[in-house]
Symmetry: C2
Subunit: 482 residues, 2 copies
Amino acid sequence: MSKKAKTAITPTREENFPDWYQEVIKAADMAENSPVRGCMIIKPYGYALWENMQSVFDGMIKALGVRNAYFPLLIPLSFISREAEHVEGFAKECAVVTHHRLEAGEDGALVPAAPLEEPLVIRPTSETIIGDAMSRWVQSYRDLPLKLNQWCNVMRWEMRPRMFLRTSEFLWQEGHNALETEEEAKEDARKMLEVYADFAENSLAIPVIKGEKTADERFPGADITLTIEAMMQDGKALQAGTSHYLGQNFSKSCGIKFQGREGQEEFAYTTSWGISTRLIGAMIMAHGDDDGMIMPPRVAPYHVAIIPILKDDQDSAAVLDYAENLAAQLTKRGIRPHLDSSDERTPNKMWDAIKKGIPLRVEIGGREVEEGTLTHVRRDLGRDSKASCSVAEFVEKAQDLLDQIHDELFRRASVFRDERIHDVADLAGVEEFFKNDGVGFVKIDADKIADAEFERIAKEHSLTARCMPLDESSKVIIGKAY
Amino acid sequence: MSKKAKTAITPTREENFPDWYQEVIKAADMAENSPVRGCMIIKPYGYALWENMQSVFDGMIKALGVRNAYFPLLIPLSFISREAEHVEGFAKECAVVTHHRLEAGEDGALVPAAPLEEPLVIRPTSETIIGDAMSRWVQSYRDLPLKLNQWCNVMRWEMRPRMFLRTSEFLWQEGHNALETEEEAKEDARKMLEVYADFAENSLAIPVIKGEKTADERFPGADITLTIEAMMQDGKALQAGTSHYLGQNFSKSCGIKFQGREGQEEFAYTTSWGISTRLIGAMIMAHGDDDGMIMPPRVAPYHVAIIPILKDDQDSAAVLDYAENLAAQLTKRGIRPHLDSSDERTPNKMWDAIKKGIPLRVEIGGREVEEGTLTHVRRDLGRDSKASCSVAEFVEKAQDLLDQIHDELFRRASVFRDERIHDVADLAGVEEFFKNDGVGFVKIDADKIADAEFERIAKEHSLTARCMPLDESSKVIIGKAY
């Protein structure tokens, strides 16, 4: 019997994917569950990743003329109730504020006091409150397009939370655009989907399928929901971003009216679009391996882990100086170094960098200092990629290496996914695939899922229609999903 | 009778300062009241200011080793109750979540359903929940100092809200540091106050007095509260930032224990420190004039308003090209231009730039294009500062002009304040000053306010002890306050 190679994460992906996921988060020190049911704490290393994601994405949308703003956290019940489908979708799972004071009760413990006249809901999403503002801000066609975004927290009560993927509170951006015509708004929703796909693929290294949701899977209140769907390493789908064409549903319920070019009064057409911290879960499950996280370089908190190998019998100060000098040179190039000068043992420092998924690792010992060199290793390729070069050469090529790592992560995830999308001819084929523990997605003619039989199969195997791919809209992709 | 010069804002500061304040916000399009009681909407121009403030300040604290993270919005009642003084201070004014679902009631309207076992409070501040996390994260003296910060929304129920100054929901940063010793923690609290003073003076152009709060004015749960206090143009004080030395109060109630250098178990010493969107109110009331806002250049959403003067009988395209070229050159230098190419009338564009307080205004007409020049005006000095120069020269000196504007705003506010701080000998002097509608602060020996008479005077004239200045700690500054 061959001995299994030791991995940093137990269990492995193969052994138990959900537990592997939790362990990767823990080993990388990205987040933890909080004592507040369903809510997580995003720890500094996880939050630094989110900040980099925000920074890149915020630049992309500002270049398109989107302006950030901030709207109230609390939404009156009457607002949520305005759009019939919307209320159906969100009323079930929201946190309700009913009091605005606490008082000491009979036993001295605090109890809610001062009931509100109208209860307020912590925003699960902000179409209604932003729509209400738009109704004041939009008077004429000259005020359109109006493109707004907010970075904020939202809350949807979750009975079975999972860190990053499904938590009661999460962080996201929600964009809300108002446009003059149906065509412009449909084009806008498609445009924002393109931006999401660009961001997922070129910043997060996650290949995505751009598609349209079936009617059953639409956002409550949308006429069209567009989505980017990614495949995780267990073959499950993860909805990584959505862009909704809302038609005039919200403009009518919120009163977003304007004077058109011919002087007539018209209702605007609106869109909304969002991505969230769940993308962090997507990165973990798309790129991580049995040694932990692998950070896609363009949003990685640190690009290069610098590990000085300090031995008692050597000149530690010289090694640290050398390492600090390297760090400074990298910083000057816009590369984010992480110099681990703690007094941990060297192997622990190396494993820490591996588990955190820092794209490049550099080791510097007394010999390297003497020779003016360093040893570097790619996180995605592991020890086989170990190489030595001069400091100057490394500084010169570090950005190239990071780009190569990005490309390799994207290539791997693309190959993995493409090998696991299976064309099937009919519903029997769908059932056959998942009954035999098939891993991945199946693709079938879209009209086939209108059959009631699909509902039975979907329920039995926990499947959903993920999307009708934009480049193959007669088909629908089906899979298990997060 | 001399005719009063026309101002863009009605009423003027002189006529009615509180109404002037609201009108400046409206005229600059920075924010508006929302339909949710006590909550405001921060509009894109106001939010861009906040983003710039965040960007500058975030860089300052990261350079000190502070790391951003994110903690839950909702805090269990049991957490809030842990620290006796803390609960006294915050239980009175908080939003309480009691249910996690909505259902259609008898009349079809939505009503709260699914009551929570333990009500949750929307964070008024996060000492208790972050302290709880620190109790898990801190094990050894090696884990200290631990310096955490979060940018987030908080909620304190307000009965008499005022935009930016006092709203039920507001945005802020809250820093929470844990340190090994009392000395380090006191030093840390002072250090963060220095950072705030630096930020207020060198980024927002607001001169501040660094001081310590009297016992009555301390943060609930703090041993020492340090503050920066600014004077507004109506002579009132505005607390612009606070830094608290919390001693072991929260480490004991939250269990932040660590193994010390000698192996002994110890409680950490903690600090917390915060600034908020109320600083936007401070900038308005410190710098604004009767024509509207004046943005301090280092955080201004736009640095230069470029106004193309388009006439029917001239070549508009040439003027616009010229203006766009200028904008591009400024952007390259890190200067933020705002090219107003709308079809508004030229005077309206100019007044818009004035009311928004854009530090520099540039006008470009057909003649300027022919001559290769432009006309520029400083917002702080008005038409008297009108000057012409070549585009190249302007691009070269724009940053200098912005620095001069910063210096001038700071100088003005300093002169205004310094002329309005009055030394008085006793409580009778305090009463005398405010009874006669004195504008500004009075300074008195700190031991004098221990007298019960002070309470009466303070109540009668709506005064508070603002702080004991760090550079003159035997004195206390007294004033009316926001």
